[in-house]
């Protein structure tokens, strides 16, 4: 079966037919720009084993590879609690393709925690296609006080970093949590590389030899390693449709509620499908008469949404086919010209004071990283 359109993340229905068609077109352009055949984007390495699934008939041996990792930033895991939880509340530090925030009551107790894996690029497209729908989504998801002017600048462009997004984690805004980052990572990882005649198999080596990624995250090295392993088997690789980062399981074993209710029942997917959840909330229904902070994890009350993130998985699904049919010609090791990930100090910021980039801008930016 040939895929006639690249779906929007989570099979969302926010946008019009025209908007979804445009998304498919733009995403295909982003994917194909990474192959290295487009004369507008003469990449440093042809990526003959990467493809866009649009219009492709998958071979019989097509298989998916689910890559799962923890939402909590790896770089903070060695800190003691509660410091690591509070540090991780900073959206700048939420660099594992998942972001969160929480609302509190007057006593500082958590009432709702929001988790999202949605890309800013999608919201740009959404705002362009259906601004009223965007406003309605913000109002139903974060606050009824949201006004369109909070979301759309006078120029007509979407304000990705707006106060409601900061308060309610409507979509991701950390500078590396972008669609293009995921696509470029997968594309770069599809290149089999060698150093001193030895084929590289470790993410750490691949990152030193041409893949723009941060080895100190959970997500980047995992994606690099798993995609490259498929490529080494002579397969064509891409990201599975619908391309997106998705929430995985929330492990609630050991969580204790004041009334013995199953804490899992307080986890509610609010965007996407059960198979492709993009956004979820953790909140205690009013009839229970207590807050999230009254729930304990291993005896510790939930004082930060980061504690929930520590039990949350995130996933990305790769797709490969035609195993053994793509000639594997290892590329030489190239030192990355641009270090991946945040600088070592804490001075980096959300995606700039300017607005978060749209998919169009991401395509252009993605081409520059190659």
């Amino acid at each position: 079966m040939v895929l006639e359109r690249l779906s929007v993340p989570g099979m969302l229905t926010d946008m019009s037919e025209r908007g979804r068609a445009a998304w498919s077109r733009d995403l295909d352009r982003l994917m194909t720009s990474q192959i290295g055949r487009d004369p507008d984007f003469p990449g440093d390495t042809p990526r003959a084993q990467f493809f866009s699934a649009l219009g492709v008939e998958l071979a019989q041996d097509a298989t998916v590879k689910t890559m799962r990792w923890g939402a909590f930033p790896r770089g903070l895991t060695r800190l003691p609690t509660p410091k690591r939880w509070h540090d991780a509340e900073d959206r700048n530090r939420q660099d594992e393709y998942c972001e969160w925030s929480a609302t509190q009551d007057g006593r500082g107790r958590i009432t709702r925690a929001f988790f999202t894996t949605e890309f800013g690029a999608y919201f740009h497209a959404f705002a362009h296609d259906n601004p009223d729908g965007l406003l309605e989504l913000y109002r139903s998801s974060v606050s009824t006080e949201v006004e369109l002017r909070d979301l759309i600048a006078p120029s007509g462009s979407y304000r990705a970093i707006n106060r409601w997004n900061l308060a309610g984690a409507m979509h991701m805004i950390q500078q590396f949590n972008t669609l293009s980052a995921a696509v470029v990572l997968a594309a770069q990882a599809s290149v089999v590389r060698e150093r001193a005649g030895v084929t590289l198999t470790n993410a750490a080596d691949l990152i030193e030899c041409g893949v723009t990624a941060n080895a100190d995250r959970n997500s980047d090295p995992l994606i690099v390693g798993d995609v490259n392993a498929l490529a080494r088997r002579g397969a064509m690789v891409t990201l599975a449709d619908p391309v997106g980062i998705y929430l995985g399981a929330l492990r609630t074993e050991g969580w204790e509620t004041p009334d013995g209710a199953d804490a899992q029942s307080f986890w509610r997917v609010t965007r996407g499908t059960p198979e492709h959840p993009l956004r979820a909330e953790f909140a205690v229904p009013q009839e229970h008469g207590y807050t999230v902070t009254d729930i304990t994890i291993s005896g510790q009350p939930i004082v930060s949404p980061s504690q929930i993130a520590e039990a949350l998985e995130v996933r990305l699904v790769g797709l490969a086919h035609r195993f053994g049919q793509s000639p594997v010609v290892p590329a030489p090791c190239r030192r990355s010209t641009r270090p991946g990930g945040p600088p070592e100090d804490d001075s980096f910021s959300l995606a700039g004071e300017q607005d978060f980039p749209s998919l169009e801008e991401l395509i252009a930016a993605a081409s520059r990283t190659r």
Binding site: A204, S298, G299
Partner: protein
Amino acid sequence: MFPSRLLDLAADEMAAGPTFDPQRINQHIEGRVNGQRIMSDAEIESLLNDPFALLVLRRGRFPTNLTELLAALDEHNDSSHGLPDTTSFLVSEGGQIPFQPGVGKGGSRLLIVRTRRDRSTGADLMISVLTPPDTSPRSSTLLLEVLAWDPVNRTFHFYQRQQGAWFWCGQSDMAFDDDARGHGPFDSHINGYPNMKELKFPWVHWHGPTLAISENAYAPDDPLVSDPLFLDRSPANLFEDLIMVLVDRWNEARFDKAVAGHPTMSPTNTWLRQVVDSTSFGLISSGVRFATLPDRDLNDVPATFFVDQDCLIDGAGAALPVRPPALRLSGSRYAGLVQKYDLRLRGRGIDIQGDVPFCFTVPERAREDVVVVRLLIAKGVMSRRLAACLLMVDFANPMFSATRASLLRHLPDGSRLEAGASLDEVLVERITRAASASPPGSAERQFVQNWELGPSDWPTTFADRIDRYLEAVASRLQTDDGSDEIFRLAESRRRMARRIPLLEFDLTLPIAAGIPGDAPPLEMTEEGTIRVRGEAIN
């Protein structure tokens, strides 16, 4: 996570009649007299209510290999009690050493975890297969081990297939039985907990996000590398998440059984020894790969090697307001020490100079000891202050402190755990009484000095001491002498860890061949200097 030693099935050869039957569930409790026999139906029904027993063995299915075992489980995938979700993991001490014909480096352990479809709870069943080179993990000749949770009896059961028969080798509770403790599964599951020595980033020796165990570690035609469980293996960080939940699961069950008066689990000393002593250990490393030396510096020398961060500083422990400094060691200095002390990977046909894949791999407090400290505080068995005063005795040696462990003798005979009953009163009174007759610097005198800080000043005073100590360590890591001493201390603690059966394979840790085998063990001082262990008191 499993011991991979064979059961001593010959031990009961003198017993009358057959002691095992391939078509029955057999019992073999290592260390127990007459511990091997065919189990009766009544025993099976009351003892074995885990998914492996319920879905497989009790239905008369006795799988002879991994394929059959997985197929037997798959038959229940659509039922409410089925475990359809399969995740595989791989650990191999030689996993970062490329294959070379004729060079043996031991096998690989494949772990298969089965969970419910939504994975909202931890694992209920784990399978371990130790796979030698050039062998399919599905071979009937391999040792198959199963760990499974029994929700009725609230315990983990340990099973093993050997000589064509399945044996129940015991349950977590038996880790505290005099005859079974330290034997069979309990030589590694020392207190009955599931374990993962390399629990934290960078999960040295595991297939992980940064360092994969890839096909180039094996012969091109090794059946393992084409097995779907290898091809779809998951990174170790996901196994860490699973193990953390399972450790807590047994900890809670164990505590409930103890306060209910369980004969072998309620004695307080079985709990307190996990507070003041090191009954087990974990392994922690810098995230810097040895292969990148000397270009990369070790900017993340593990703090838990120097102080019990998980129990003293973490909010779930004593919550001391410590501000740990970054502990850094230059890559060239570490590489120089590797040369100077001839650090080597030695064992299983390998003898090469160098470190394990990640630098500065050292023992740290085992997760199962950490959760005990936290649970005893949370349940009111001891106050934060008591925990802190105990752990601040010889605090510069978070592992293997004979000084701190000696405090265990002050528990009254016959003391039993009670929920909410603070140990403070009895322990403080008895240690204080013993202190006057003990020499300067003794554990008792240190404890009394700590306790006398009073109910309000102890957190800041302890935190100040740790801050000063860690600053001294950070400074010493920047000097030749200091880093040399700390390197030798690391080797000394690794040698102590090697004595615990949990450390199964020679290649798990490097050995500093340049330090004599009979070199006396070392310990750290509060000033950040190193001395021979026990020197201060002797």
